[in-house]
Symmetry: C2
Subunit: 407 residues, 2 copies
Amino acid sequence: SIDAGRLLGRLHELGKIGRDGDGRLVRLAGSDADKAGRDALVAWIRAAGLEVAIDRIGNIFGIWGTADNADEASILLGSHIDTVIDAGIYDGCYGVLSGLEVIQTLKSAGFVPARPIAVAAFTNEEGVRYAPDMMGSLVHAGGLPVEEALATLGTDGTVLGAELERIGYAGSEEPGFLRPHAYVELHIEQGPVLEREGVPIGAVENLQGISWQRVTIEGEANHAGTTPMSMRRDAGHAAARVVTFLRDRARNANTPTVATVGCMSFEPNAINVIPSRATFTVDLRDPDEGRLQAEEAALAAYLAELAATEEVTISVERLARFEPVTFDRRIVELVEEAARRRGLASKRMTSGAGHDAQMIARIAPAAMIFVPSIGGISHNPRERTPDADLVAGANILLDVVSRLAAQ
Amino acid sequence: SIDAGRLLGRLHELGKIGRDGDGRLVRLAGSDADKAGRDALVAWIRAAGLEVAIDRIGNIFGIWGTADNADEASILLGSHIDTVIDAGIYDGCYGVLSGLEVIQTLKSAGFVPARPIAVAAFTNEEGVRYAPDMMGSLVHAGGLPVEEALATLGTDGTVLGAELERIGYAGSEEPGFLRPHAYVELHIEQGPVLEREGVPIGAVENLQGISWQRVTIEGEANHAGTTPMSMRRDAGHAAARVVTFLRDRARNANTPTVATVGCMSFEPNAINVIPSRATFTVDLRDPDEGRLQAEEAALAAYLAELAATEEVTISVERLARFEPVTFDRRIVELVEEAARRRGLASKRMTSGAGHDAQMIARIAPAAMIFVPSIGGISHNPRERTPDADLVAGANILLDVVSRLAAQ
Ligand SMILES: NC(=O)NCCC(=O)O
Ligand SMILES: NC(=O)NCCC(=O)O
């Protein structure tokens, strides 16, 4: 079994890195806070006696290989250590630090792996500063050219490649250099299912599709006091209509579709000026690709109708689009079997969040292990998982990895 | 008649002062751009041979008095030179520069006024950076203690008093030092009525009530992908509901009520995080005080209902509240008479915008003169009035002032 104290200690230590002036955890990809988190991780990887490798998109790998298995494809574990704004300490970090913990445990137990075992911290999984999300793993899987990824413009006007150079994490390895034989990612559920059903282990068999768009509505600025309601071309009002349309449609449907408007801004943003422009993001998700396409089409039709009735101009930019993913059935069964052997209940489930595993699944058998999130809360400083569940999840990862690395 | 070239030249010169990097006119109260505009105005007042006085709230006065009329209350003209964000060049500036033009014309024509004639540029009429609007004239009229006004916190975290000190316009006169016998304000209509009806002169007989509020909605941040629609406490969605509620209510009512949400912001404002907080402004106006109160009550009831159904917390802060104002009937008649004598059609009308005249009306007979706005557009760089209408308006002001100052 893994060293619970060491794992939990590192998790809390990493969770202290990247607090802003108000004490909020904000460790956005490519930021100074990200650099500080990466430095801590690299030091732990080195202390565990693993080789450190960094590729051009900034993905960090800690690799445990032997002379005997040097030619084999690796068992790859991992997740990410970048965060959203005002984040919890578990999302991503738990998977990376558990991967390291599992390798360190196997190594000091004298385990002899048939193939290298490596842990990865992928760059910019959250996608908050640079879209799309899961960028580092997407590049690793060959789904996005590294030059294109490095040129991505951030919400703050920065360019990812320049930021990686700045913080010293523009590495030299060619993305994809490490060939995975299988990939396993341990993560908090970030949703309410496991806690509600009292099940400690989720065997994640699929992951829903993700559609991200940025919508810009152009109306006409005018005086809030003198312009009759019938003569307005109010971009802010049109944006609000889209928000309520998406919410009502997703809420009233008898489907798992979720729709979120997370970012919103008005221009000129003055109290007595009718907004001339509104810009907002739309995050649409569904486990079924056909239904996700239908939701995208319904939004497009609504925007076209709104443009006509409100006399506004609407443009849409696609920020990310990933189809639903089915994970590897054999690894899912290994997770279930490991849980059974440790006397823990498990449940097959769908991931509502996007994860690096969905990208690596393009090039290798992959699956995920979930542990419960208290109250289903994530992307929130109140994100929490009981220590016992965190330790149990890491032990399941240990068991699955020792099976995968044995041959 | 006034010197049309001089008036229009100054108007265009002032309109060049305070352009931002993108060429947008942004001369917010107390800013560096405001200082540059004030400096130009003060130079013109001095060049016209008037006395310059600046009071503690930064109101600028250009005073033409004589030894004979020094004890009399003044005929006060004026408006403001601060602007909204991405403004036109006419709003406010036209009234101030016409006031100066009228005095300069009377002075050089050898007119002998029975009382001093003064032009005022009141501080922070727009209220975009510091609420409430019409602040300088409100302080002059004794409606707001100067200490309270100077302590006002801006949308950018600055304090008005400190900004006035910084730009050198925290004057020494006690607000209200200049006693008005009557007040006349010339302004662009900023609405569509005069142009639509082909009437060059508006004789403004009243001004609608203004209610400004800032609403803050607190929900709960959570993951956009994992949180079922039924488990969300989405502050952004709740804010959008308020926007559509206000718009539908005002639009469907058979009343002149107008409702605007000009400012909006979400927190944490990340694409895959359900908003934990939304903050926005509400600008409600109606010429009828009873109806304005009914609209405020309807909004309050809706917010209470929304807080319950959406499980969010809502707080409301009042930013400005002014009752409708009726202007002085005798001055309105002088405006109509002046138009008649110059062979111009005029129309009695209501002001949809707030103006310094509504504040000075508390302490002296006051009224306003409007000229047409092309397309009814204001608070927009496309704000425009034909030169002939601008000149005609200034000549009506000249005629009214010479009548008022004769006794
Ligand atoms: N796990 C996680 O929060 N990933 C961020 C990408 C997403 O929005 O699902
Ligand atoms: N005239 C004018 O635009 N005043 C600003 C105050 C307001 O009416 O919002």
